[in-house]
């Protein structure tokens, strides 16, 4: 019969058409910061920035709203990205040794990013192994028509751009060796190509540096070695001086050599100068390496100004945004953009003090680990403005006088979103962050911290670290990534916001439930605390978990924004598992693994506490959270350790092999699954999973009134009839709760959601919506029903008798379990008048089903999240309901969000009608206009330096002018590994601004300013 029902539905073309007009699944945009970035590039002409990730994604950003995402077919890490400046083309090199060319194309008035070509170097038959053709270095010629590819085998290949056609003039070892003097040959190979640099004046000449130390000036046209420089130390990098008369080579021993190019002597044996500046500097107030070894730093020097930016995570790469007019004497960099492993930091160099510029996108959502999320659509403009004001007052000191966002290529052509959407993220450190989710880029609006309500030792720690930083070097902390929570009990578990009254409930890991209201004024008051015992004198239970958080005593100052009304503390202080708010009735309901409570926050009085604990459930008293946390902590520590001790290539290979072995072992042992009915004795059966308030018929069919519903992990539903006094009597009369019904679902699966439907089968409106004319009044004539969604099935019961009306047994049919559900109103694309209610369900397999309500018939199914992505599935939030939009005449959004990585939300839409996605346009110039001035980072730098005779003496593999006159010395002491040196990037731009970056900061030594 069931099958027949489906078939009939599927074959009805009329219904199919309606469904197409209602439902459509789209993943629209990714919010947040790309996980594991691995490469960075900037096109100063188009003013676009590209970030490559370890998962093979390329993300291009310009002005806010302008963003493109491209994904390589193979999930290999992007190791290098280069813009073909001005052309809207991007060249990427992956870890699997393939080269890819991407183009920003245009279609229907907006641009998109697509891969147009890819190329892998063919092996040289018979001679070289595959590793020999591994690309080590890329040189994009200034006129962008030729790509020089250096390989591990020592070959240099030439590819025509943009066609990727391999020119038949590859240069191999043997050809170079012929020109080398006999005594240099000594049978050794030249090693991989380590550096390729184009001659700053003569475009046909390139400088090729081999690992062994040999540097060759090669003429591309004549295929002739112009000069040989017989370096003997392992080479790391090469830098031209702008005139082309000298260049600098840096070496693995930390030294650098300056070579003079002299056309009359084709073979240079000795460099002009040689500096190997390593050496201990213990006498110079050097700091112990141990103290700073784990810092991630970048130093900016300008005249006597010296700032060491102390980042929160590893530096991937950086660039400056500056004037691209080469005729101008100075570059005048306006800003410095640093890509870190966990965030993007932009420093305003044009403003004294070098403040950071807040980023309009790439929000570091995960600055503290996200513990929960909550999305509200159609936010009333009044609340919106107040939140923005509160947020502005928070960031007033930071953003004052800061320059504009420097990366502003392209333009967004997406229509202005009609309604405001808020995304709230709860974090491990006890903060709740408010994000503007109305558009493509998620922007921070306001940050609420709950830590100041409690006595914690966080503040204490901060002052300690501050004190130590007065000394040299002048560290400055930048960035906000701070994943190390001082007290995991502060973690936010549940959030509920009433968008009409500005009331907010935030509940956390230690059983704290904080009722807050939005205040535009600063205030100074005591914290009202009420405790609710959820065990209700049950005997034989002793809580073995963490303690409650002690609230602050005395008066506390609260900034404008959300301020606490009352703190309700659950006893035992287990993590809050469900929370809901009814601002019109002044009630909150909350649940933990032990029971649930109802609290009147107007009178600050508990109304009800009910224990849901099963007598045999011992696990509920363990406070399992503490165990999880300690595991997490130790994991973190080990991650830190890994970061510290760099894993060499060989080690990595061994680890991978071990991992593979482990996988094989797992395959050997057969995985078994026990088949057993759910029993009442299952552990944690008392966990309260959902709570809901509704004005409906519980006791009889003629009198409706406030009710409260709670569902547990073991399939129990408790329904209470509430006596809520009228608004005028709130203060005198207390709220009463009487148990109306207890429902035990036969299949005992956890109750995921409860919702009451009115006489027409529509979900009841939110509090205030009816009284403020924002929604149609619910039908109180027809009989109401309650929709109970468990992990296994959906069921609609008629009220007040609680008789089963319709059901759908999802697990029995599909073998999947319900993870998240929401009631969503879908509006047809063909007519704004036509809409249907749907029950949207995300399953443990990561697919999304939509069912009709209240008939519970399956409508559509989409694959959404990979089933292996458990955290993605767990993080998914649906917009609660969108029905207010109907009446207000706006469009109804039906989006959802889930985390695709710890730092990124994927946004998806289920409605055929409204999609929030980036629509943007970038004008590109793909003519090969050779007169256009091009940008080359390193030759440019040198030019400036030499021209202005500004001199830096650096102990890093940096350069020193022969006419050295200044004497700012920056030294690093021993213990540097080859890899460390390799990671040094030295970069000079402005006449006297110097950037030194270490992949991992090794920053010891002192400034010698005599």
């Amino acid at each position: 019969m069931m099958k027949f029902r489906f078939r009939r539905q599927g074959n009805d073309p009329q219904r199919e058409r309606i469904k197409q007009e209602l439902f459509a699944f789209n993943k629209t945009v990714e919010h947040g910061f790309p996980n594991q970035p691995s490469a960075l590039a900037y096109d100063p002409q188009l003013q676009l920035m590209a970030i490559g990730t370890k998962s093979g994604a390329i993300k291009v950003y310009g002005a806010p709203g302008v963003e493109f995402t491209g994904l390589h077919k193979d999930t290999a890490a992007v190791t290098q990205i280069h813009f073909l400046s001005g052309q809207g083309r991007i060249l990427s090199l992956l870890d699997d040794n393939s080269l890819h060319l991407w183009e920003i194309g245009g279609k229907e008035g907006h641009s998109y990013l697509e891969e147009v070509r890819s190329f892998s170097l063919p092996g040289r038959p018979g001679i070289e192994s595959t590793s020999a053709t591994r690309v080590t270095v890329l040189l994009l010629k200034l006129n962008l028509d030729l790509l020089c590819v250096g390989t591990e085998g020592g070959g240099v290949h030439f590819l025509q751009l943009p066609t990727f056609s391999l020119l038949d003039r590859s240069l191999f070892h043997d050809e170079v060796m012929q020109s080398a003097p006999e005594e240099y040959k000594c049978g050794k190979s030249l090693g991989p190509v380590e550096a390729l640099q184009e001659h700053p004046q003569q475009a046909e000449k390139i400088l090729i540096g081999y690992s062994r130390g040999l540097v060759v000036l090669w003429d591309l046209n004549t295929r002739h070695v112009d000069n040989l420089f017989l370096g003997k130390q392992q080479l790391e990098s090469l830098v031209w001086e702008r005139s082309g008369n000298t260049f600098v080579s840096s070496h693995s021993d930390g030294g650098y050599l300056v070579w003079t190019v002299n056309s009359s002597t084709p073979c240079t044996h000795q460099p002009t100068t040689s500096t190997i500046p390593y050496g201990p500097f213990p006498s110079h107030g050097g700091m112990p390496r141990a103290s700073y070894g784990d810092r991630h730093c970048l130093t900016i020097l300008q005249d006597s100004t010296h700032v060491t930016l102390d980042f929160t995570s590893r530096v991937i790469d950086f660039f400056t945004v500056h004037c691209i007019d080469q005729e101008k004497e100075y570059d005048d960099p306006t800003s410095l953009v640093v890509l870190l492993e966990e965030e993007l930091v932009v420093i305003d160099l044009a403003t004294p003090g070098w403040p950071t510029i807040p980023s309009p996108y790439l929000a570091p959502l995960h600055s503290s680990a996200i513990t929960c999320s909550y999305h509200i659509s159609n936010v009333p403009s009044k609340l919106w403005e107040r939140i923005i004001t509160a947020g502005q007052s928070q960031s007033a000191n930071q953003t004052h006088g800061v320059g504009d966002w420097p990366i502003c290529g392209g333009r967004s052509v997406a229509p202005e979103s009609k309604q405001k959407e808020l995304l709230l993220t709860g974090h491990e450190d006890g903060t709740v962050r408010f994000w503007d989710a109305s558009g493509v880029s998620l922007q921070p609006l306001y940050k609420l911290s709950t830590a100041n309500i409690f006595q914690t030792d966080c503040d204490h720690n901060d002052s300690l670290t501050q004190a130590g930083e007065e000394e040299w070097p002048p560290f400055r902390k930048v960035g906000c990534f701070d994943p190390y929570s001082d007290d995991p009990r502060l973690g936010i578990q549940k959030i509920c916001l009433c968008k009409y009254s500005g009331k907010l409930v935030v509940a956390g890991t230690a059983g704290q439930v904080i009722v807050m209201y939005l205040s535009d004024e600063k205030s100074d008051h005591m914290i009202d605390v009420a405790t609710v015992d959820l065990l209700q004198d049950r005997e034989g239970f002793t809580w073995k978990g963490h303690d409650r958080l002690p609230p602050k005593t005395g008066s506390v100052v609260f900034a404008p924004g959300f301020q606490p009304v009352v703190l309700v503390q659950c006893i035992p202080p287990a993590a809050v598992t469900a929370v809901t708010l009814h601002a019109e009735w002044n009630l909150i309901a909350f649940g933990t693994s032990h029971g649930f409570g109802l609290f009147d926050y107007h009178r600050r009085a508990p109304v009800l506490a009910r224990c849901t604990l099963h007598p045999n459930d011992s696990l509920a008293m363990e406070g399992p959270l503490s165990r999880v946390k300690s595991l997490k902590k130790s994991l973190r520590q080990s991650f830190r350790r890994i970061r510290k001790s760099r894993v060499s290539g060989k080690k990595r290979a061994v680890q991978e092999a071990n991992a593979q072995l482990a996988e094989q072992d797992a395959e050997m042992a057969p995985v078994q699954r026990r088949i057993e009915a759910r029993s009442a004795d299952d552990s944690l059966s008392g966990v309260v999973r959902c709570l809901c308030f509704a004005d409906t018929f519980l006791r009889d069919g003629t009198h409706h009134g406030p009710t409260m519903w709670a569902g547990t992990n073991s399939g129990s539903v408790y329904a209470y009839a509430l006596e809520v006094p009228s608004q005028e009597k709130f203060s005198e009369q207390s709220v009463e709760a009487v148990l109306g019904k207890e429902i035990q679902l036969m299949h005992r699966a956890p109750v995921v959601s409860i919702a009451v439907l009115d006489g027409r089968g529509n979900p009841l409106p939110e509090p205030y919506e009816v009284s403020r004319d924002l929604a149609k009044a619910p039908d109180m004539q027809g009989s109401h029903s309650v929709l109970i969604a468990s992990e296994e099935q959906f069921k609609v019961f008629m009220l007040p008798k609680v008789s089963a009306k319709t059901k759908f047994k999802l697990t029995a049919h599909e073998g999947c379990r319900v993870r998240k559900v929401a009631l969503v109103t879908f509006t047809s694309v063909s007519s704004e008048e036509y809409c249907e209610n749907g029950l949207v369900c995300l399953t443990n397999l990561g697919d999304i089903h939509v069912f009709s309500v209240p008939a519970l018939r399956p409508q559509v199914r989409y694959d959404c999240i990979r089933k292996e992505d458990i955290s993605g599935i767990a993080s998914c939030v649906f917009t609660k309901t969108g029905q207010a939009g109907q009446v207000a005449g706006g469009s109804v959004l039906s989006p959802g969000f889930y985390l695709i990585s710890p730092s990124e939300y994927e946004r998806f839409s289920l409605s055929a009608r409204v999609i929030t996605e980036p629509l943007c346009q970038v004008d590109v110039d793909r003519l090969h206009d050779l007169t256009v001035l091009r940008y080359s980072k390193l030759s440019h730098c040198l030019h400036l330096q030499f021209e202005h005779n500004e001199v830096f003496s650096l102990s890093s593999p940096f350069l020193e002018s022969p006419n050295s006159s200044a004497d700012l010395t920056l030294d690093t002491t021993g213990e540097l590994t080859v890899e460390d040196v390799k990671d040094f990037l030295v970069y000079v731009l402005h006449l006297d601004t110097l950037y030194v970056s270490c992949g991992r900061a090794v920053y010891e030594g002192a400034v010698n300013d005599s």
Binding site: I675, R699, M746, R817
Partner: protein, 380 residues
Amino acid sequence: MNRNPREPSAVEFGAEFRRFSLDRSKPGKFDEFYGLLQHVHRIPNVDLLVGYADVHGDLLPINNDGNYHKAITTAAPLLRLFLQRKEEADYSAFGTESLTRKKTPAALAAVLLRPDGNRKKPPIIISLPQDFRPVSSIIDVDILPETHRRVRLYKHGQEKPLGFYIRDGSSVRVTPQGLEKVPGIFISRLVPGGLAESTGLLAVNDEVLEVNGIEVAGKSLDQVTDMMIANSHNLIITVKPANQRNNIVRRGGRDASGSSGRSSDSGTSFYMASNAIAMTPSHIIQNFRPEEEEDSEDEEDLVIEGGGAAIPIGHVAASAGVTCSMPSLPRYEPHLNLRTSNGGMAASASMDTVSHKDQDMEVQAVARRSLEEDGTVITL
């Protein structure tokens, strides 16, 4: 006694003797009689084994309408009944031969009431037919390929675990294209004493083909696990037994004999070409109707009115035509003309042998029992 053609009965229950009368011409149904006995002895909640002494002095059971009527007709005019608490019942006392030597009621009573210490080894207790309830069954044999077996396990809300594990594996099928290795789900372990083991219908390495009418092909181990758990109250699984020897040979069965289809290797079962054809969709037609299944005993969620008694959720008119068959409770029908006879009434102190609880407790016990029937235990 003379005015009404009543059948006087003497009842022995434990050490308690009662006498009452019954209308011989309208004996009514066994259920009613059973209720009457419970009422007479004020033991409304005790399971009884009812026996009577026939004309030959044999102790014979009364457990259905048939033998009840037979007993009534044999009464001359007194019918001597023997009631035993079911858990203490001595089934060996029943039978035609067992008591021929001791024809006196006293002797009978002595047999029934002998002290525990004198008993020999407790015999295997086999319930009387009325107590039988299906624990498992093989269904749809008429429509399934003979190499398959569709087994139904009845959980009845009892505490006994289903007791089996499943695992991933692969089976080789013979198709017109040749041998094809396909992933499959297999029973990997039976828990000793579990329902699955005790039925004898499922065995380790049996391949699971369907769960409650839904094919498992293409589903992951976790999905199949969830499906089985979701259907655990009334689990119907179609298996291809690893050991094909026990299969019924039908119509001279082509090649159902012996081990041709038996899997030699533990993770693998072999499908013969004929089976592959037999697996065409026409064979997936279900003989049982899932609707009927789930709407009967499976889906009775329990609603407790605030402070009141538990009532199972029935079905509203929308799903009319579906009968709700709650496990019937022992009903007590007052129209039975219940009257204890005056004579020989021995309301003795031996009442205590039937451990009566006070009235409230029993009401509660009834309520709990009804819950247990549903497989739910509610702390009231």
